[in-house]
Amino acid sequence: MTTDVLRPSLDPASNRLCVIDCDVHPKDSIEDMKPYLAKRWIDYLATYGVRSRHGFQNGFLYPKSQPQAARRDAWPPDGGLPASNLKFMQEQLLDFYDIEYGVLNFLSPTGQGAQNSDLSVAMAYASNEAHRDRWTGPDKRLKASIVVPYEDGEASAKEIVRLAGMPDYAQVQLLSRMSELAGKKRYWPIYEAASELGLPVGIHVFGYSGWASTNSGWASYYIEEMAEHCTSCQALLTSLIVEGVFEQFPKLKIVLIEAGFAWLPALGFRLDKLWKTLRSEVPHLKRAPSEYIRDHVYVTTQPMEETEKPEHLLQIMEWIGWDKILFATDYPHWDFDDPRYTLPPTLSRERRRQILSENARQLYGFA
C-alpha cells in the first residue's frame, strides 16, 4: 500500500474563502445606549441633543450618493436603518460570505467628537456597553472597536484600561477628523494605553473636526470629500511620525481604515527625501520616516484603488508590505467590497490568504 502524501487535500473545507472583515459598521441608536446612560445624560440628550464639531445640528457634511451611504439592498426587512439588525447582517454579510471575524467600527451615534466633553465620555461608555449586548455577545464572530471620547485623552485612556482584555474588543477606535492632528500630545494618553495593553489603534476616516476638509475651505462635491481622505490621512500620519509618537510608543500599531492606500508609498518617498535635509528639525526621529510607516502602519483594503495597470497596484502593496494589508468590506455602505471579487486576481494563494485573514488574525490576536 502506498500513500500519496503530496496530494492536496480534497476536503472542500480547505478551500474555504477564510475572511476576516476589518471594517463593519453596525448601527446603534440612542435607545440602545440608554440602559447605560445616567438620567442626567438621558435628560440632556432629550433636551439639547448632541452638538458635533460642525456648523449644523443634523445631517452629513456632504449628502451621500445613496441614502444613509448604504448599499440599496442593505435595508433590513424590519424597516430599521442599514446594519441595525443583527439577524439581517448575519444573513447578508457574515453567513453569506462565511466571515470568520468582523471588526466593528461605530460611526454614530457614539459621542465621539461631541462638543460637550462630559457627554462624549458618557456616550462612549454607554456605546461600549451596548455593543456587548447587541453585537459581540450574541455573535462571537463580531469584535468591537473601543469607542473613546478622543478629544479627552485621559478619559479615553481610562475607557481603554476599563475594557482591554475583554475578548469582545479588538482595537481602539479614533476618527480621522479630530480637532487637532493625530500626533499632538493631547492624544498621547490614548496611544500609551493602547500600546501598553496590546490593542491596535484603528483610525477610521470621517468624523467632524470642525475644520474645513481642505486647507482652502470647503470643497463643492461629495466626490471631493471622498478623495480628501487621502490628503487628510497623509497629514495625520505625518503628524504621528514627526511628533515622535512611534519613538515614544514603540509597540503602537496604527490601522488606517477606509483611507485607501495608493498614496502611502508616495508619502514615504517624500518624507524620506525631506528627512535627509531637515532631520535636524526633528532630531527625535531616529529612523527614516518610511521605516515608521512600514513598522507601525496597517491599512484596510476597502475602498481599494483600481489602477489601470494591475501591476501598479501590486507594486504599491509590495511597498506597504504583504503583512500590513487587511481586508475590509465596509458593510453596509454603498462602496462595499465583495471578498470574492476585490483582490487582484493575480495575487498568489498565500498573499490572498494573508490579506483576507492571516494579517488580521495576527494583528488582533484572533484564534
Partner: protein, 137 residues
C-alpha cells in the same frame, strides 16, 4: 439551449422590472414603455444585484453649468457602487468598452403560439389570448 417563458407581459408594468432565472442564470427583465429588455442580474464591476438598483437617466454636461438628462428611465444604477448601465444595451456609461452588463434578448410571444409550439412554461399556465416574455439562452 434553453428557451423559457419568464413572465406574462402584463406582469411587468412600464418602468417595472422582474427578477427571473433561466438555466440557472439570474436575469432581470425591464419594461421600458412597453418594450422589454433583460440584463444579467450580476453587475460586471463587483457583482451587485442590478435588480435592486435605482432606475434613472444619464446626466451629462456639454459645458460647465449646462446639464442634460437623456435616456430617462432607461438606466439602471447598481445598488452598491452606483455604476450606470443602459438597460437597452447593457453598456456602462463610464467604461462602455470593457464594463458591460450582459444583455439578453426578450421576445414577446402570443400565448397561442406558445401553446402550439414545443415550448412550455413550467411555472404558470399560458393563456392563449395573453402575451408572454420569452428568453432564449
Amino acid at each position: 439551449m434553453a428557451r423559457q417563458v419568464v413572465a406574462a407581459a402584463r406582469e411587468i408594468e412600464p418602468g417595472g422590472r422582474k427578477l427571473v432565472e433561466v438555466a440557472g442564470r439570474a436575469i432581470v427583465v425591464f419594461n421600458l414603455a412597453g418594450e422589454f429588455f433583460a440584463l444579467a442580474n450580476r453587475c460586471p464591476h463587483k457583482a451587485g444585484e442590478l435588480c435592486k438598483g435605482k432606475i434613472s437617466g444619464f446626466i451629462s454636461s456639454p459645458e460647465p453649468g449646462v446639464y442634460e438628462i437623456s435616456h430617462e428611465g432607461e438606466v439602471i444604477r447598481c445598488p452598491w457602487h452606483g455604476w450606470e448601465f443602459h438597460i437597452r444595451t447593457g453598456k456602462s456609461w463610464c467604461d462602455p468598452r470593457t464594463m458591460n452588463a450582459r444583455a439578453f434578448e426578450v421576445k414577446v410571444e402570443k400565448g397561442a403560439q406558445l401553446v402550439e409550439g414545443p415550448y412550455v412554461a413550467e411555472t404558470f399556465p399560458v393563456l392563449v389570448e395573453d402575451d408572454y416574455l420569452v428568453i432564449e439562452l
